[in-house]
């Protein structure tokens, strides 16, 4: 069930999530001349989060294309460029600003193939930073990837590991349809080992990141770490938690999390979105629909408090999912 992994060769080196995304972009730019990166400050500035640092110097201003502040126009231009035979990677600096481009994403990117009876593919990749936790307050802390996953015609992925940070971009660019890639802002400095020749990863399956027997923690992206930490704590308390990383939020890979729940009979779904209408609600509903008689306890959700995320650290911490909250929900489920 887990994603393709290859035995790590001797040559393994330490790298960060930021570098892994950058390597993925370089791979793509070197591999396919139709690929270009477009967005605010991707070039001279090096990307608001430093992801594209150095790419302008290597690939030039045509392929590392700085845009003015015009989210709707440059996301729409990515759609048009994809229709015109290019393989654009559009960077929307953060998901908070993608609201300005939602019409282009929902009414054009997601719709054109179906509405034209299969005539027009939109091989567009849109990357954006998502999530809170850095005291950026209400307008800069949205976690909307689960919300975007409501839209048919889009594929939505959330790399949580170095391997996915690098490999998902490759697979996304081979996808004939629009793919939104959500990078959680708190992950960029994560460091670890990654094969220098790490390649594409499949986007069709969720991954079991930790095996366990007493309950299943289902999550993705920025809260994978939260769940792994919670699983450690639970282990100390004698509770064995399996952790499923959804990886792709649309279309969801039901089989992987259902298989886990059928095994553990208990589930806690965790994401950083606001609770009402969260992706966790969808996962909970699907478990009820497909594994109701396997459940020994109601499916629990741990999401963000339903408030605009505040600036003050203690309030922000209280608003976002924390390991302690996951542990508490897990203990309710097994208790």
């Amino acid at each position: 069930m887990s994603t393709k992994t290859r035995p790590a060769p001797e040559t393994d080196t330490r790298t960060t999530y930021r570098e892994a995304v950058r390597a993925g972009l370089r791979d793509a730019l070197l591999r396919d001349e139709r690929v270009f990166l477009m967005g605010e400050d991707v070039g001279r500035y090096g990307g608001a989060f430093g992801v594209s640092l150095g790419l302008l110097e290597e690939f030039g201003p045509d392929r590392i294309r700085d845009t003015p502040l015009s989210e709707s126009a440059f996301v729409g231009a990515g759609i048009g460029a994809a229709l015109g035979g290019m393989r654009p990677v559009v960077e929307v600096m953060t998901v908070n600003f993608a609201l300005l481009a939602l019409d282009q994403l929902m009414n054009n990117a997601a719709t054109l193939l179906h509405m034209t009876g299969g005539q027009l593919n939109v091989p567009l990749v849109v990357r954006m930073t998502t999530g809170g936790g850095r005291q950026l307050a209400a307008q800069h802390s949205h976690s909307l990837e689960g919300w975007f996953a409501h839209i048919p015609g889009l594929r939505v992925v959330a790399p949580a590991t170095l391997e996915d940070a690098r490999g998902m971009l490759w697979t996304a660019l081979e996808d004939p349809d629009p793919v939104l890639v959500f990078e959680h802002g708190s992950l960029y400095n994560d460091a670890g080992e990654l094969a220098p020749d790490a390649g594409p990863v499949d986007l069709d399956r969720a991954a079991v990141r930790r095996t366990g027997s007493d309950l299943t923690l289902i999550t993705y992206g920025g809260t994978l770490r939260t769940c792994l930490t919670a699983a450690d704590t639970l282990a100390e308390q004698g509770v064995s938690a399996e952790v499923v990383d959804l990886r792709t939020l649309r279309p969801l890979d039901d089989e992987t999390f259902l298989a886990s729940v059928r095994k553990t009979h208990r589930a806690v779904v965790v994401d950083e979105g606001w609770r009402s209408g969260s992706l966790s609600a969808e996962v909970s509903a699907r478990i009820t629909e497909q594994a109701f008689y396997d459940l020994d306890a109601p499916v629990e959700r741990v999401c963000s408090a339903e408030v605009p995320v505040p600036y003050a650290k203690h309030l922000e911490d209280a608003a976002l999912p924390q390991p302690a909250g996951v542990v508490a929900a897990a203990l309710r489920a097994v208790g």
Partner: protein, 325 residues
């Protein structure tokens, strides 16, 4: 299609035929709407035919066209078969969008006809990207984007105009200024109603054109397209025109003065062009009658084709949400 063909060499009769095809097609559509064979929204182009015919005559087959929900004229002038357009109006699988789009969403990849966009101004950023793709791949094509005076008020117009000029993309912005956005007149949409002047403020080469004169539109578009191909950057044409009918079949047209409508009908692009050709002795009654008969025949065949055509099987509803792999 060869990239050598940069624009058609249509005769005046071709231009007249082009306008008649659109006019008669839409008159029939109105009837079919009353007969409930066409449903949804239906936005007629009657009165504006010279714009589509004149402008698209100046484009080559490899150029790209992006349009609005008032696009029957653009689709027909672009060369989409009347059969597939009529079948689309009736929601049949043989339609140019397989019956999934209807009147507002005519598409044809083979003709580089990119819709059929029902979100006002929504086609502008897409057109920008099509032009960018041609530029980055070193192709000599132009992308022409039709939109209205109402669309000019949307933020998407502003962002697209600036980016096109900033990047000097091969984009032709064709603003069909028919003086109304639904029931809202130009002076209630815009503080400054000289749209060509405002377009110039972005650094776009821009001028107004008489949209009731098919020659004027064709010549202006040719000049713009040649300049764009020569690398002069994006152009903007404010095409001054008027819709003779209501905004859509739901509209009772309460907001327009009957005298104003009558005055514009005096300038009907088809009757005036016909008169002009007859004065110059380029057209006689028989030829005109033959032309009308030819168009009527094509239209009857299109309607028959569409009526007989099958609908898509309901089983395939979920096809093409994602590509088949």
């Amino acid at each position: 299609m060869s990239t050598a063909v940069l624009s058609r060499e249509s005769t005046d009769l071709d231009l007249l035929r082009g306008m008649l095809r659109i006019r008669r097609f839409e008159e029939r559509c109105a009837e079919l709407y009353s007969a409930t064979k066409i449903r949804g929204f239906l936005h007629l182009y009657v009165g504006e035919e010279a714009v589509a015919v004149g402008a698209l005559d100046a484009l080559g087959p490899d150029d790209a066209v992006v349009s609005t929900y008032r696009e029957h004229g653009h689709a027909l002038a672009r060369g989409l078969p009347m059969t597939s357009v009529m079948a689309e109006m009736m929601g049949k699988e043989a339609g140019c969008s397989h019956g999934r789009g209807g009147s507002m969403h005519l598409f044809d990849a083979a003709h580089r006809f990119y819709g059929g966009n029902a979100i006002v101004a929504g086609g502008l950023p897409v057109a920008l990207g099509l032009a960018l793709a041609d530029r980055m791949q070193g192709r000599p094509h132009v992308t022409a984007c039709f939109f209205g005076d109402g669309a000019f008020a949307e933020g998407e117009f502003h962002e697209t105009a600036n980016l096109a000029a900033l990047w000097r993309l091969p984009l032709l912005l064709l603003c069909e200024n028919n003086r109304y956005a639904m029931g809202t007149s130009l002076a209630r949409e815009h503080a400054q109603t000289d749209l060509a002047l405002r377009a110039a403020s972005y650094g776009l080469t821009s001028w107004p054109v008489d949209g009731m004169d098919v020659h004027a539109v064709r010549d202006a578009t040719r000049a713009a397209v040649e300049a764009i191909r020569a690398g002069a950057g994006p152009h903007f044409l404010e095409v001054l025109t008027y819709r003779f009918r209501a905004h859509s079949m739901y509209d009772s047209d309460r907001y327009r003065d009957k005298a104003e409508i009558a005055a514009w009908k005096e300038r009907d692009p088809i009757t005036s062009f016909t008169a002009h050709l007859r004065e110059d002795g380029l057209l006689d009654a028989d030829t005109l009658a033959a032309l009308e008969a030819e168009v009527a025949h094509e239209l009857d065949e299109a309607v028959a084709f569409a009526e007989d055509a099958a609908v898509e099987p309901v089983e395939s509803l979920t096809r093409h949400v994602y590509s088949e792999r």
